[in-house]
């Protein structure tokens, strides 16, 4: 229970820092904090395999990619980090309305009585992947290949 509150507090503070940070490099590093806290949350939810993949792919891969992109697209003249006052108010109202709707819906729903997981079983996840859902798994690999080729083509210089 205490673990949940610690995770939630770290995650929310870091998330607010991500959306408010004027310096993009700091924003990316705060995102790394959110993703690390999510990995801890996955361990709490008996999803060890997700925690490992979260750290490998997100904090290892995506954060590095993001940092490189921030530095490659760095523009010293841009001092204006957020939109005007009007859009700030709109964003705050809209996102709190969405949060309110979600929380109201969660509170009103009667969750069915089920028995939560007590052990983490990566083998069962792997079996689900490669037996029941193997077609989706193969489609995913084709998608990743297409995304890789697309990223190379898009990032290439036009004159090269």
């Amino acid at each position: 229970m205490i673990a949940f509150y610690v995770i939630a507090a770290v995650m929310l503070v870091a998330a607010v820092k991500v959306v408010r940070s004027k310096d993009l490099v700091r924003g990316v590093l705060w995102l790394a904090v959110v993703l690390g806290a999510t990995a801890v949350a996955f361990i709490q939810l008996k999803a060890d395999i997700l925690a490992v993949i979260q750290i490998m792919l997100y904090t290892g891969g995506i954060i590095t990619l993001m940092l490189f992109s921030v530095l490659l697209t760095w523009n010293r003249d841009e001092g204006k980090p957020t939109a005007g006052h009007h859009r700030q108010v709109t964003g705050l109202l809209l996102s709190s309305a969405i949060a309110g709707i979600f929380i109201a819906a969660i509170k009103r729903t009667d969750m069915p009585e089920t028995t939560p997981l007590t052990v983490s079983d990566p083998q069962a996840v792997g079996a689900l992947f490669l037996q029941q859902h193997v077609l989706a798994f193969e489609a995913l690999s084709v998608l990743l290949l297409a995304a890789m080729i697309g990223a190379i083509v898009l990032a290439r210089r036009r004159d090269a």
Partner: protein, 99 residues
């Protein structure tokens, strides 16, 4: 151990913070960071439902979502690098050719 409802509320709040970022920020990479926050909230939701239901399907769907996000970020960042080359800026207000 926290119950399902609290995890869902945490994920809903995290999603809303990400949505706020998407609306308010102008810099394209900052928007991509906020989208990451939203995807992360969804993954927590999937893992929490899988945990509460006592099977591993939720975790499997979350793995699919993670792989899709990685592809999305790779293509998105490639587009942003091209944008910064052609417009000398990644503020989304400058890219108005399609409007």
């Amino acid at each position: 151990m926290a119950d399902l409802e609290m995890w869902l509320i945490l994920s809903a709040v995290l999603f809303s913070v990400g949505l706020y970022g998407v609306i308010v920020r102008l810099n394209a990479i900052a928007i991509l960071l906020s989208i990451e926050l939203m995807v992360n909230a969804v993954n927590i939701n999937l893992a929490a439902f899988g945990w509460a239901r006592g099977d591993y399907t939720g975790q499997m769907i979350a793995l699919f979502a993670i792989a899709l996000t990685v592809a999305e970020v790779a293509v998105g960042l490639a587009i942003l690098i091209q944008l910064s080359r052609t417009h000398k800026s990644i503020e989304l207000d400058v890219a108005t050719e399609l409007m």
